[in-house]
């Protein structure tokens, strides 16, 4: 697909640029209807995806709705500085990182284990029951899930009643900062484990059956087969999922946090994105909040690039 005309004139960049331009003009004419069809799509991306990227410059300005983005005054890194120096910085950074780390340790492996288990079930009916039931919570809206969580962990709620039997004090669990992370992670696993396992099940179906055959002949038991055949078989999928996960390390599901948290547990529940939401949209600190959001996006991007590079180096799997 390389431009075939350029190699012989490689030493003359001007000429090759001319060739590219003339090819492009020809291409634009030839495919003009396709390009016209692309216009609404590009317009969408420019307006609603790149527009906010441009708008992010308000992080370096003192945005005033009256003056608009262009008219507002530049303040340089002042908002970043006041964020980094604020009491909130360490609290929300710590909360975000801890919640992400816990989710990486507990939420990430859960669907893999579930897929490996489901894959071992030989009874077709039982298998499909397990699958249908575990996928289901994925389709229940977050509002309803959080409503149920709040209700069950309330004093006198279903789960809290059990905890009381086991020696808990029966107070509403979402009023206790030390419990927030567990509630968040456990309910996340409950809701998402089955659905995410589909990806791994699909990967498992592509594992060569002969390898299982061979392992069996070598006398490997079921656990050994899982460990030595199934798991390596889905490793590339696991790594891709892991890279993506790391790239989103700082953006924990804040919709859920907004629904669940309350001032009593800000100490453990407030994360970067919920802070952005509160400061920006509820307290109208547009520029300050945009600075915090930009910080979040940049760190995410850096993490993604790093994770991708590491993975390329050690496993030859990468996103790009």
């Amino acid at each position: 697909m390389r431009p075939s005309a350029s190699p012989s004139h490689a030493g003359k960049p001007v000429k090759s640029r001319e060739i590219v331009v003339s090819r492009l003009v020809k291409d634009l004419a030839l495919n003009k209807y396709l390009y016209m069809m692309m216009i609404p799509v590009l317009a969408y991306y420019i307006l609603f995806q790149y527009g906010p990227m441009y708008g992010a410059i308000i992080a370096f300005k003192e945005y005033s709705p009256i003056k608009g983005i262009v008219g507002s005054e530049w303040v340089g890194l002042a908002h970043f500085q006041s964020f980094f120096e604020s009491y909130y910085f360490w609290r929300i950074l710590k909360n975000t990182l801890l919640l992400s780390l816990y989710s990486l340790c507990f939420e990430f492996p859960a669907p893999i284990i579930l897929a490996l288990l489901i894959n071992e079930v030989r009874n077709k009916r039982f298998k499909s029951i397990v699958q249908s039931v575990t996928y289901m919570p994925h389709f229940i809206s977050l509002i309803v899930i959080c409503g149920i969580i709040k209700d069950f962990t309330n004093s006198g709620g279903l789960i809290n009643t059990f905890i009381t039997y086991l020696g808990g004090d029966g107070q509403a669990m979402l009023q206790k900062p030390e419990l927030f992370r567990s509630i968040y992670i456990i309910s996340d696993i409950w809701q998402g484990m089955g659905w995410t396992s589909i990806i791994y099940l699909a990967a498992l179906m592509n594992v060569d059956q002969e390898q299982f055959e061979a392992a069996r002949i070598d006398g490997a038991g079921r656990l050994r087969q899982i460990w030595n055949v199934s798991l390596p078989g889905i490793l590339p999928t696991i790594i891709i999922m892991l890279i993506l996960r790391i790239g989103n390390l700082l953006s924990v599901g804040f919709e859920k946090i907004i629904l669940l948290y309350n001032p009593a547990i800000y100490d453990t529940a407030d994360v970067i994105s919920s802070f952005v939401y509160r400061k920006g949209l509820l307290e109208f600190g547009w520029s300050y909040s945009a600075a915090v959001g930009l910080f979040n996006s940049v760190v995410n991007l850096i993490l993604l690039v790093l994770a991708n590079r590491l993975s390329k180096k050690f496993s030859e799997n990468s996103l790009w």
Binding site: M38, L42, Y54, I143, K150, G221, R222, A290, G293
Partner: protein
């Protein structure tokens, strides 16, 4: 040999036990909610712990929920968002996927990069809000629709699927003088019905469950989609307006069951269609994951 098969059997027993427990844990909260919603409110408030069956069956809570105008207008607004949202989603996504799946379009590679960048980098919530505000979509039902016209991940899945359709069909149509729009709508889309079904479902479920952007873009209560109405009842705990008459204590008690009834009313539609749709969803995830 016998030793090994005993090991095998132990493994199976563990396997089935673990998975059965998992099924129960996943299902029980929903069963509890269903039972509680048709139980006597006074009993639910007084009783703690597991519920094995509905107690003092009555449908008072459902009556209150259905008597609430906000629920109905919520349904109506959600329906609007789903119908027009999904039409726009499908149109825009297939338009983009079609062009990007054509060979010999010189700018397709830059276009792809342009689009994929948005999967990894965002301007952030506040600038996004300002854009939507600037376009004048605030407080309209289009706010949860137009700014979400394309999901990049879906676009890539659809493009991959379009690419796998043989070129010869397109060429034959071109011979007959068909233009690109005709090729897309008369040839490519009819051949892609299964994947289009998956796209429809994904987008529709997103719209059905979506609440966050509606909550920041829409402040007019008459335009609240169902999820926002539910949020008021479940999260903000305001059931007062819904149960008429009675003493404060009665109100509190019925309020508890109203919550459960609300959950059922807002979740049943999706749970009822879910068994029929499940395989399409699964198919979508598989397509997505294999190419992802």
């Amino acid at each position: 040999m016998t030793k090994k098969s005993r090991l095998e059997r132990t493994f199976d027993v563990c396997l089935y036990t673990v998975l059965s427990v998992l099924v129960v844990i996943t299902l029980y909260p929903l069963i509890y909610v269903a039972f509680a919603s048709i139980s006597d409110a006074a009993y639910i408030v007084a009783h703690k712990g597991i519920l094995w069956k509905p107690v003092g069956v009555n449908f008072e809570a459902y009556k209150s929920v259905f008597a609430n105008d906000a629920i109905w207008s919520g349904y109506k607004n959600t329906l609007f968002i789903i119908v027009f949202g999904v039409i726009l989603n499908l149109f825009m996504t297939s338009l983009g996927a079609y062009v990007l799946s054509r060979k010999n379009v010189m700018l397709n590679k830059p276009f792809m990069i342009f689009i994929i960048i948005t999967m990894f980098f965002h301007g952030g919530l506040i600038p996004f809000y300002l854009v939507v505000k600037g376009v004048g979509l605030l407080d309209t039902l289009w706010a949860p629709i137009i700014p979400f016209a394309i999901n990049t991940f879906n676009l890539i899945i659809l493009r991959t699927s379009f690419q796998s359709i043989p070129d010869s069909l397109e060429e034959a149509a071109k011979m007959d003088g068909a233009n690109h729009l005709v090729i897309l709508f008369r040839i490519i889309l009819p051949l892609s019905l299964p994947i289009m079904a998956v796209m429809t479902l994904y987008y529709a479920v997103d719209k059905w469950n979506g609440w966050f952007y509606s909550s920041i873009f829409i402040s007019d209560r008459d335009l609240f989609p169902l999820q926002l109405v539910i949020r008021e009842i479940l999260i903000a705990n305001s059931t007062e307006g819904m149960s008429s008459g009675g003493s404060g204590n009665d109100l509190f008690q019925i309020g508890e069951t109203i919550k459960y009834a609300t959950i059922m009313v807002s979740t049943l539609p999706i749970l009822m269609v879910y068994p029929y749709l499940q395989r399409y969803f699964v198919k979508g995830v598989m397509v997505g994951s294999l190419k992802g």
